[in-house]
Chain length 143, copies 2
């Protein structure tokens, strides 16, 4: 009998064995469970992952604020977990969510409100797409 390799265990096993990076984080992609739209990309540490699984509401770890963060705790725009998945090497999480209001701190539904286009000279140019604001960030975050 052959001994299952570590790789097989991580890739084909049924135990959650998250592979945190050097900073103790996983990359998380949140998509709208209804439309499939990517809402945001953020990070989770071990505690954020545990709280998300336990509560059914999404917690992240903010690298800029170096703090655990329940999505929507300031804005009220929480994310309810519909389904969570992990990837082959267990260093990324995909969460399908019900998003209240908007996911982006700029007031948009998604953080991905600009398309990358190619210019005639081979360069890149952005254009707004699905960029309508769902809320006024100055009011919500009291800047």
């Amino acid at each position: 009998m052959s001994t299952p390799s570590v790789s097989n265990d991580i890739e084909e096993g049924l135990a959650l064995k998250p592979k945190f990076d050097a900073a103790g984080l996983l990359t998380c992609v949140a998509t709208d469970a209804g439309t499939g739209e990517v809402l945001m990309v953020a990070h989770m540490n071990e505690e954020a992952l545990r709280k998300t699984i336990a509560s059914g509401e999404v917690w992240y770890f903010s690298r800029s604020r170096n703090a655990l963060w329940r999505k929507g705790e300031t804005s009220g725009h929480v994310q309810r977990v519909v389904e969570m998945r992990t990837d082959c090497d267990q260093d990324a999480i995909w969460i399908r969510v019900e998003q209240s209001g908007g996911a982006c701190h700029t007031g948009r539904r998604s953080c991905f409100y600009r398309m990358i286009g190619r210019t005639e000279d081979g360069g890149a140019r952005l254009s707004f797409v699905d960029a309508k604001r769902q809320f006024d960030p100055n009011a919500v975050y009291r800047k």
Copy 2:
């Protein structure tokens, strides 16, 4: 007149100004342009981003192999760009692609073939979902 802040320029401007991390990388999410399914999460350096925009085929930077990598160059399972977007702070890319074959090196359509479920004692347990193999990785990668 007020002077636009750097933040406004990055978040509200139309110039692509990617914010690479300390390792020179952006996080990229590839979704199936037809179904919205998240296929994979990977990274791009400046050259991978430039080649992807120029060619319409997706290039990544492999952290494990420390090398530029045209998706599908070994397996033939290329990703054709349907739409590219950047996020508010320009440190992540969302690409909607036409994926030939499967995106995952294990042979599945998506790397996210396991769902995270909650056990009665509050722990986590994985279960396979959409995990049918599209190809035999041992044949494709000649392991």
